[in-house]
């Protein structure tokens, strides 16, 4: 029978234990947070391989006077009225379906039945917001250029 080992003085041993516990917990929490933080940040994409937000849709003469033309691949309508050109989005502001143009009556959404006036204002819901009207400019090459990052008021017309 060997005698029980003598206890070391209480204070240093307790503080050593506390140090190891605090350091260990800190390391564990910091490591886990770092890993999860990196993961969470990484799933937010920084580079998007999406079409540009500003693009040409054609020359003015491609849109006959008095016509309403659907540019399907850009999901918008080009109006050529006597006052000038204007562009209305074809994406329903309710839940993102493409609206159909009904000449003289405005737009109708096939998904949930919203209807809009020709200038984009809501006629009947459930859509709560008007179809946005996008800024339009004439490029140096004589093309109509739409900028979907900028919306304009209902009176906007481009003389071309």
């Amino acid at each position: 029978m060997s005698p029980a080992p003598p206890h070391p003085p209480a204070a240093p041993r307790d503080s050593r234990r506390r140090f190891v516990a605090v350091a260990g917990t800190t390391g564990l929490v910091a490591g886990a947070l770092g890993l999860l933080g990196a993961l969470a940040r990484s799933i937010v994409p920084d580079v998007l391989y999406e079409p540009p937000r500003r693009f040409p849709v054609g020359r003015p003469r491609d849109f006959p006077p008095g016509s309403v033309t659907l540019v399907a691949e850009r999901r918008l309508f080009v109006f050529n009225t006597p006052e000038g050109f204007s562009v209305v989005s074809a994406v329903c502001t309710h839940l993102g379906c493409n609206v159909n143009h009904e000449p003289g009556k405005g737009f109708a959404c096939p998904c949930h039945g919203s209807t809009f006036e020709e200038d984009g204002r809501v006629r009947t819901g459930p859509a709560a917001w008007p179809l946005p009207r996008f800024a339009l400019a004439l490029s140096r090459r004589g093309e109509l250029v739409v900028d979907t990052r900028r919306t304009v008021g209902p009176d906007f017309r481009l003389k071309a």
């Binding site: 096939p110 819901g125 459930p126």
Partner: protein, 374 residues
């Protein structure tokens, strides 16, 4: 030779074919699969009319979905340029590919319906009351996971149905206050449904959500044991029978029935595949999968009301239910008279959910206008 065979059997299963009572008890404890069960089980819960086997059927469908899904993964390519063609390959250039796809699709639809019915059964028998509150919560999460799995799987065929259903679904997400648009951006990996969105839905559908489901299923089963087995009325708590053979063979019988029904449906009906996804052309009417048509019908009355307020309210009410209604009476029997009010309220909500789903499915035509189905 006989002896070698017997030694091999015993090395794997530890017990022979159980014939005596001690052997039957030991058999239940000696196998990984069987030990999920107790050795003896309440006679009350073995009556088919009590549980209708709905939880078990949900689990079997999940297993069938995992197996058929793995087979489909060998041919499916999650890229917009290839996804639709690989679906055509699965249908026409893979032996039994069409059958596997049909089985996967119909089992998925079946699982949504059966999980919903399982929840109704649990409610109408008062089985969510203490000590089973938390397992009800796990069950609600499992139902949400089932819907999320169905929704993410819906985009993968990359046909018109898929594309526009996900367009509508992710637009609803963006209506959620504060974080909605950011969550949609994360879900799609951008602003529109394209390559990034397809890959994200694919990873969620094939890996993240099934793993979460498997984990929660394990918790769900484990809690059934820890909460003292399935619920029963107080006077029937103590009559128990051996799990082998009474429980084990009933479970196998249900498995046979599920397999027969899935096979028959997959052989008789082909899963739909419309034209390839086209962002420039919205089909009219554009409809979500049937289990979201109730939601789409509500969204028709207002996106915030139908897409956010009602579904969030329902889920929160379901999660809170077992902590609000803790009265221990009426457990273990269908439609207990002491629970008349609770049963009436739940039945009214369940009927309303079914009703808006039926309206959205059969009574809505082009531009979401009212049509008569006949």
């Amino acid at each position: 030779m006989r002896t070698l065979g017997r030694r091999l059997w015993l090395s794997v299963f530890r017990v022979g074919w159980p014939r005596t009572r001690p052997q039957r008890l030991r058999a239940m404890l000696s196998s990984l699969v069987l030990h999920v069960h107790p050795t003896r089980v309440r006679a009350h819960v073995l009556r088919p009319s009590y549980t209708l086997g709905l939880g078990l059927v949900s689990f079997y469908l999940f297993v069938i979905l995992t197996v058929t899904g793995l087979a489909l993964m060998l041919y499916y390519v999650p890229h917009p340029a290839a996804a639709y063609r690989s679906m055509k390959d699965i249908e026409y250039a893979v032996t039994f590919g069409m059958f596997l796809r049909n089985a996967h699709r119909w089992a998925a639809h079946g699982m949504v319906a059966v999980v919903f019915l399982h929840m109704c059964r649990t409610f109408f028998t008062g089985a969510y009351k203490p000590p089973r509150e938390f397992n009800w919560v796990v069950g609600v999460l499992l139902m949400l996971l089932t819907l999320a799995l169905s929704f993410t799987g819906y985009l993968l065929p990359w046909d018109q149905l898929a594309f526009w259903a996900i367009t509508v679904g992710t637009a609803i997400v963006a209506y959620f206050p504060v974080l909605g648009p950011q969550v949609r951006y994360l879900l799609l990996g951008g602003h529109e449904i394209g390559q990034a969105a397809l890959l994200r839905f694919y990873v969620l559908h094939c890996l993240v959500l099934p793993l979460a489901m498997a984990f929660l299923v394990a918790v769900h089963f484990w809690r059934v044991r820890k909460d003292g087995g399935l619920s029963a009325p107080p006077d029937r708590l103590h009559r128990r029978v051996l799990a082998w053979p009474h429980l084990v063979f009933r479970e196998l019988l249900v498995l046979v029935l599920v397999l027969v029904v899935v096979h028959a449906t997959a052989l008789l009906f082909d899963a739909p595949l419309e034209e390839i996804a086209d962002a420039t052309r919205t089909p009219n009417p554009a409809k979500a999968p049937w289990y979201f048509l109730g939601l789409q019908e509500l969204v028709h009355y207002g996106a915030i009301f139908g897409g956010v307020v009602v579904p969030t309210g329902l889920v929160l009410a379901l999660l809170a239910l077992p902590y609000v209604d803790t009265h221990p009476r009426g457990v273990g029997v269908w439609f207990a008279p002491e629970r008349r009010v609770a049963n009436a309220v739940f039945a009214a909500i369940a009927v309303a959910v079914v009703a808006v789903t039926v309206v959205g499915t059969f009574f809505r035509g082009p531009n979401w206008a009212w049509v008569w189905p006949w």
